[in-house]
Symmetry: C2
Subunit: 153 residues, 2 copies
């Protein structure tokens, strides 16, 4: 086991341990699925609003961008608790089986996004559009990497 594999396994173990109490709190698997979809959808809406500013589609509003980034930061750790055992097909889901068969890789993606969220917030708080663009691009890449690997089209 090389260092990278070890680090990934460690991250996966930590994430699983942290996720267990939360997973145990879902009354049924359908709730866990709805919970992860709901938290990801809300984040996606606010992420899209920042993206529209970063891409010049709407005027840059520093205050709005900060509020959007705050929502994303507050929600960034939530969805992953909804991917526990038995939540692979209890309700319609685009999550691919690899979420459960390749947990280490999935958790690594989740951790990477969670590291991007506070950076995006810091950039939004700076009020500097260039910083926001850079942080948005980096966070968007972490979203895309996970979607490409773990979400059905």
């Amino acid at each position: 086991m090389n260092f990278k594999t070890f680090a990934l396994a460690l991250a996966a173990t930590a994430a699983t341990t942290l996720a267990l109490p939360a997973a145990a709190q879902f009354a049924k698997p359908e709730d866990a699925i709805k919970y992860r979809q709901s938290s990801l959808f809300v984040m996606g809406q606010h992420f899209g609003r920042i993206g529209a500013m970063a891409n010049g589609k709407v005027p840059f509003d520093a205050k709005a961008a900060q509020a959007d980034a705050e929502v994303i930061a507050a929600l960034s750790s939530l969805p992953w608790t909804g991917f526990g055992p038995g939540t692979d097909k209890a309700a319609p889901t685009k999550a691919r089986p690899e979420v459960w068969t390749d947990q280490a890789k999935f958790q690594d993606h989740a951790q990477k996004f969670q590291a991007e969220a506070p950076k995006l917030l810091a950039a939004a708080q700076s009020g500097n559009l260039d910083q926001l663009k850079a942080a948005f691009g980096s966070a968007a890449n972490s979203c895309k990497a996970c979607h490409d690997n773990f979400r059905a089209r």
Copy 2:
């Protein structure tokens, strides 16, 4: 117009003004409906977890309760932006027509809940179960009052 009516109208106007830019950011009415349902569902899950502790169904975990209350506080202002004009029936919804025909009353309920969320957070931060129980009861009443009036069974 007596004081109470005036205060309600003022709150409604403020809320509507605040809500407009956000409402304009939804690509389509279905997104607004999904957004309000998603943010309410996530809040509901965390509120339920606090409730389970407040009602003695699960052991009191001060740290978990604080994390739950933080999520609720972060989301408490969001759902109401998803009840804009034209979002009454673009997708399946339990929202009753009164949300749009009695805006002042609806916004008053929304404001009351938004006032409860930081109180719930402060109680959770205190680490005192009795304070949490009291704040939970008060917040739960504000949820129920709005559901009784504006949500179909």
